[in-house]
Structures are given as structure tokens and as C-alpha cells.
């Protein structure tokens, strides 16, 4: 699903955010991306979502070489990726329903299907009752779940999450991770960037560790332990 081949990212000014990163993530896998802040976790996710382009080396998503995707095609490429942000990136002048419906509207789904899909997504994150409220009235954990609902409403084969539990207490964090596990079990590829090692180490998933732009660790628990 995701393949990095000698990928480097150098920002203007000569700062190397990623240096010779190689890894492969098969479809349906769930993995954590860890490392201190500034290690390059966000940059790596940005390369996958084409928010940035690799300076050298190649990144493949779903068999596509991202260097070959033109600026015009980027929106269509991104529709196949659900992205979850630490700061949620919700629109506060719209209801929860409208926020979650946005990817479907962008994709041009007929109105009657939009309602069904939005409610299904909200149901999955346990916010069905909140569809009429504005995100500002929700707690941090609830806002994050709205963000997740929006990321999955389009049923993308790949989910990326950048510090999704960054501002949440351990209990809420665990809940959020459970939601990701559920998606993983239905075949969605999930890559979660997080520095919450306590939480991650309790979960039986692959861990990619970055340090100063280099991939220094790739631990995969035995397949027997993996659920599904």
C-alpha cells in the first residue's frame, strides 16, 4: 500500500527532515510511526498525502509513484486517503453533519446517499446524536472523533493520523486507538504517527521509529499476535 524507496525530504534552507527512508506497508496493515517531535513523523505523512513532495527517492501509494501525480490530480488522489489531524481541522461555522459530509459533497455524491453515509460514519465513532450541533460545543475527544468520521466517510483504503491523541487523556486516547483498530480489521490500511509510547507499546502493531529523519527502528510483532 505504501512504499518508501530512498525517500529524502530537504526543506529550503538545507534542513533534512527525512533522509533515505525505506519501508513497505502492505495493504490492510496497521502501524505506528514514532519518534521525538522533529524526527520527521509529520513530514513522512505529508509525503504520503502529497502535501509535500520528496526531494529525492520515491514514494509509492497503492502502486502509484507520487512523483508522477500532477498538481491537478492531487485532489483526486487525496480522496483515497483519510487524514486525521491533531488539531482536527474542523470547520466551526458548520454543523457536525456538514463537516462529515464535506468529502462526499466534494466527491459529488448524490444527496440521498450523503445522509446515509454520514450517519453511518458518525455511528461508528459514537456521535450519531450530535449531528446537529456545532463542533465548538464538543469536547476535544468528540471533536477528534468528528475528524475521524470525516476521514472515513468516503471509505478510503488508507487512513493517516498525525498525533490523533495528542491532546487527549489516556482513557480517551485508548478509545480513539480502538476506533482505528476497528477500521484496520475491515481492511483499511492505517498509519498513526504518535509519540505516546506508553499507549503504543500496549498495542500489538508494527512500529516504525524515526530519529532525526532516519528510520532507526522497525519492529513487527509476530503475525500470530495480530488480530484479524
Amino acid at each position: 500500500m505504501i512504499r518508501f524507496s530512498h525517500a529524502c525530504k530537504r526543506y529550503p534552507g538545507g534542513y533534512d527532515a527525512l533522509n533515505q527512508v525505506n519501508f513497505h506497508m502492505p495493504a490492510g496493515q496497521m502501524a505506528f510511526l514514532t519518534g521525538h517531535s522533529g524526527a520527521g513523523k509529520s513530514t513522512l505523512l505529508k509525503l504520503i498525502a502529497l502535501l509535500e513532495r520528496a526531494s529525492r527517492g520515491q514514494v509509492f501509494v497503492n502502486g502509484q509513484n507520487l512523483a508522477k501525480i500532477s498538481r491537478k490530480r492531487i485532489p483526486f488522489f487525496r480522496r483515497n486517503i483519510g487524514i486525521i489531524f491533531q488539531d482536527h481541522q474542523l470547520l466551526f461555522d458548520r454543523t457536525v453533519f456538514d463537516n462529515v459530509a464535506l468529502p462526499l459533497i466534494i466527491a459529488g455524491l448524490p444527496q440521498r446517499d450523503v445522509g446515509k453515509r454520514v450517519r453511518a460514519a458518525l455511528d461508528k465513532v459514537g456521535l450519531l446524536k450530535k449531528e446537529r450541533v456545532y463542533p465548538i460545543t464538543l469536547s476535544g475527544g468528540e471533536q477528534q472523533r468528528v475528524g475521524i468520521a470525516r476521514a472515513v466517510v468516503n471509505k478510503p483504503p488508507l487512513l493517516l493520523a498525525d498525533e490523533p491523541t495528542g491532546n487527549l487523556d489516556p482513557e480517551l486516547s485508548r478509545e480513539i486507538m480502538h476506533i482505528f483498530e476497528d477500521f484496520s480489521q475491515v481492511g483499511v490500511t492505517v498509519l498513526v504517527a504518535s509519540h505516546d509510547l506508553d499507549l503504543i507499546s500496549q498495542l500489538p502493531y508494527r512500529q516504525l521509529t524515526l530519529k532525526a529523519g532516519r528510520l532507526i527502528g522497525d519492529t513487527d510483532p509476530s503475525p500470530l499476535e495480530q488480530v484479524g
Partner: protein
Amino acid sequence: MSRLNIATRARVLLLRHLQVFFYSLGQLSRHPLSLFMTAAVIGIALALPTGLHVLLQNAQQISGGWDGAAQISLFLKKSVSDKQARSLARQLRQRNEIAKVSYISREQALQEFQQQSGFGDALKALKKNPLPSVLIVQPALAHSKPQQTAALLEELRRNSRVDIAQLDMQWVKRLYAIMDIVRRGVLVLAGLLALAVLLVVGNTIRLAIQNRRNEIVVMKLIGGTDAFIRRPFLYTGFWYGLFGALLAFIMVYTTLLLLSGPVEKLAALYHNNFELSRLDSGTALVLLLAGVMLGLVGSWLAVGRHLREIEPV
């Protein structure tokens, strides 16, 4: 998504356009004062050339009336008899570029001259009537343009019975020349003000884009195409242009209404039943279309320039 057939896609797209159409109106109506102020600036910029255009139309109407008053006097040769002169008058009356021909016989002319000039006694001393008979030819209104009148004059001058054909057209020509200058001036002014409208709309949309920066970023993050993101701003420009044009219409209409009373009073003093013409539907339509087009183009330029600068990081 690609499984949807074209008809469904078209219907969905149309629905989305309608939604954005009214959504952008709803967004604008949340801040009625700023909407009004922007629309008023656009309205004033559009009202000036429109108002001048209507006034020019009126001036043309008046000068058209004067033009009709520009008569051609045909002084016939002395050898032309009364009967021949009358038959020439009949001939001319039948031509459709001529509205009216009045005949003044030599005797009538002499009488008039005697009464009006004060040389009555002196004329009595003459044995023969020195005055020629005269045909006063009034060109039809539809044929009263300077070139047409001049052509008619030239033709009449060549008539074998005509001694002298005379028309004082100089002032009509001057008036037309002045009106040409004014018309050109109005065009230049309209062009400049159209540019001003573009800038006003462009700047307003630029601010709107900055205010909605966050929203644009989110849209881009979840796969919104440029066309999708551009759409609400284009419709916002459309609304600004439309409201501006409507305000311009109201301004011009009210101004003409306020002017029409005094103008009619003035015309009455000149024994003229001139009536100030209102904004005709053609001009109003052009005004609305121009407003809408300027709104769309202005926002298109602003969105094209600024949308690319906003990228999620």
C-alpha cells in the same frame, strides 16, 4: 464514484451549484452592512456612466427635434411659374425623406416682406416683384442626419427649377461633433469605472479568501478541486455585481424621476412638450449584465491569483 452515470453526475453538479448559489447569498446576508457598502460602491461606479448615457440619449432626442427644424429653403428661378412651382412642391411631398413642403408664392413673399421689413413704400416704387417664389422643405425625422440632409440639399440644388438651395447646417454639425465627443467621453469613463468595479470586487473577494483561509486549507486537504473551492467565491462575485447593478438602476431611476419635473417645467417655458425619457429596458438589461459580468470576472481574477497561494502545510 465513477460508477455513477453521467445523468446522475450532471444532476448532482447542478444541485451543488444551486446550493452554493444560495449558500453564498446566505453568507453575504449575514453581514448586510458590508454587503450594502460594497454593492453601493459598485452601484455608484455603474450608475455614473449609465446616467450619462441616458442623459445623452435625451440630448439626442432634443437635438433630433432641432434637426427637424433645420429646413431647406429652395429659392426658385424667376422663370418658374406659379403652376410649375406648385407641381414641384407636390413632387417633393411624395418623397418619403421629406416630411413637409410649404410653398410661398412670389406675391405672398412680397406681401410678407412689405409687412415685416418696413420697406413697403420703397417696394411700391418697383415696377416688378423682385422676390422669387420659395419652397420650404422639411426633411423627415428619420432622414435628418447631417449627411442625409446634406445629400438631399445637394440633390435639390441640381434641380433645374431651383436657383438657390440653402441650409444653415453649421450649428447642427457642431452640435453633433460636441455630442460625439461627449459620447466618447462617456465610453472612456465607463471603461475606467468598469476597471474600478473589477478592482473593488477583486479586493473584496481577496479579503473573503483570506477570511476563509482555514476552510480552503481543509477543502484542499480532503480532496477539493480548485473548481470546487473557487465556486462559492465566484458566486459571491456574482451577487456583488448583481446587487451593485440593481443599486445603480435604482440610483439612475430615482435621479431621472427627480429631474423629470423641473425639466418638463423648463420645456414648457420653451413651449416644448419634451419629456425626459426614462431608463429603457435595453439599457437596464445591459446594466445588469455588465454588473454580473464584472462581478464574476473580478472574483475570477482574485481567486485565480490567491487560491494557489493557500496550500495546506
